[in-house]
Amino acid sequence: MSGPLRPSPAPGAVAALARVEGHKLLVHPYFLAGIAFVGIGSAIFLRATLTQPLVSWDDDGWTVAVGFWMLAMMTMVGANHAALRDRREHTEEQHTSLPAGPATKIGGLLTATLWPAAVTGVLIAAIAGFASTRGMSLSAVQVVHLAELTGIVVLLGAFGVAVAVWLPNPFVVPLVAIAMFVVHPGEQSRAWHAITPFADMVTVELAVWHLAYVVGLAALFGVGAIARSTRTRPVLIAGVIVAGIVGVAAAVLLARACPGACLIG
């Protein structure tokens, strides 16, 4: 009786939980710390646009991207922290007696990562809008790259949830976050570039493929997290589809953009 509670997530409950968890993620100290990083990175860039000649997104916009990368990291840790709440607060027993089971909770948490992503999108649009008033309009590739930052927030948020589900230990995700900065597999740090917007995606087509790769990977982590508590046919089919998208996108990127370098360092 203590096994899977219901065959699949309850859609109404997922949406309601997403509202609650999304709000909690936005006021989570980790996310607020991420916002501070965004503020610092963006302030450096915007200050440059006001005080220096010849400022460009390509040469100076990296501080903005790093700020949002930190925000994504903090979202990952925050989502992991939220997903470990039942274990931490000992509410598993009383929640087991409720009709909506773990799959619903995980679905709610995964959907909740769209809230930080939405905030990311709004902030990026505001920064890009301000920069454009300083004569720094974005190219089509740059627009996709900035959009990808939103996808990375969802991706790392979903990763944080998936790790909480499969490796329910509060130290795992913070260690992963640190490792992402410290460990550089291979000769260059390009392994991590595989999921960042800086992976030499010089054409719109490649940038869109990379965006598909990021979004697909986020969905794969999401399906993986849900599969921990329910392995129904729709979940398995979704897993196969998103794995296919990720595989195709990765293959295209490896073949066209940076053979042998981007994804495996």
Binding site: M1, A16, L98, A100
Partner: protein, 289 residues
């Protein structure tokens, strides 16, 4: 004929070599059934099985006519079940309202406005409406206990499982709890596990005494008290023959067991009966061991 809301047939549960429940059969209808027993009697195991948290090793459990061995029937039951565990957990960073609302969502209360009304009603029923927007970590132990009760009361559950709900409550809060549980308008089937015989006397129509994983008594509180009639006596000094004895405030000793000839027999109450039953069970088990 309507099925009993709670029906257990030959239910057994083991933890390693320890038999927590030993072929327990019971039925409980609407109204409050008290579950008394010493620590380790199997009360919490029984509560967890009926609350659908734990599966029995043997036997069958039916709630509201549904067989708990079937997954989809368990989900049906859970929609109509309220459970307050012995050691409830809380989301410390949530407010009291948010915490109960979270449970309401997991109870699949879909309409947001109706759900919030139900949450407010549950918090009001346990007297927490004034601290609804205070974080759980800032609530006292008694308030948290009432918060756990509020989440169990959500949605007018048809079966209510309350595992030691008055532990840690002050006398006034206990009185409020009794008033609340005894006046639930829709008259659910309530299984109330407790160490407090006063709670049983005050609100239960029926009491089950569990010891060593078996049912030792099943009847009304008055009938339980009657089992000790003629087996309680008062003497100035302690009597070593008694099953249990204790010194009272007036200096005399109250004894339970088999009274000696000429002893001053006292009126038995539910405490005496319970202690006698638990004491005899312990002695029997000790002798058997």
């Amino acid at each position: 004929m309507e099925p009993w809301p709670i029906e257990l047939t030959e239910v057994s549960k083991r933890y390693g070599g320890v038999r927590a429940l030993d072929h327990v059969t019971l039925s409980a209808g609407p109204g409050i059934t008290g579950l008394l027993g010493p620590n380790g009697a199997g009360k919490t195991t029984l509560m967890r099985i009926v609350a659908t948290v734990l599966a029995p090793d043997e036997g069958s459990v039916r709630l509201l006519g549904h067989d708990l061995a079937r997954a989809h029937e368990r989900v049906e039951v859970r929609r109509r079940l309220g459970y307050m565990p012995q050691e409830p957990g809380f989301y410390q960073q949530f407010t009291a309202f948010e915490f109960v609302d979270y449970v309401a969502i997991l109870k699949e209360m879909k309409d947001r406005s109706a759900r919030h009304d139900a949450v407010r009603r549950a918090l009001g029923a346990v007297g927490l409406e004034d601290v609804a927007h205070r974080k759980v970590k800032g609530l006292s132990g008694g308030m948290r206990r009432r918060l756990a009760l509020a989440q169990a009361l959500l949605g007018d559950a048809d079966v209510l499982m309350l595992d030691e709900p008055t532990a840690g409550l002050d006398p006034e809060q206990r009185l409020r709890f009794r008033e609340l549980v005894s006046q639930l308008p829709h008259r659910p089937a309530v299984l109330l596990s407790t160490h407090q015989t006063e709670d049983i006397t005050a609100v239960c129509e029926r009491v089950i005494v569990l010891a060593g994983g078996r049912i030792r008594f099943d009847g009304s509180p008055a009938a339980l008290a009657e089992t000790a009639t003629g087996r309680v006596w008062v003497e100035q000094d302690r009597n070593e023959q008694a099953v249990l004895s204790w010194r009272m405030s007036d200096g005399r000793h109250r004894h339970i067991g088999d009274p000696p000839a000429g002893a001053t027999i006292a009126e038995a109450n539910i405490d005496d009966a319970y202690l006698l039953m638990a004491g005899v069970t312990a002695q029997t088990q000790g002798a058997a061991a």
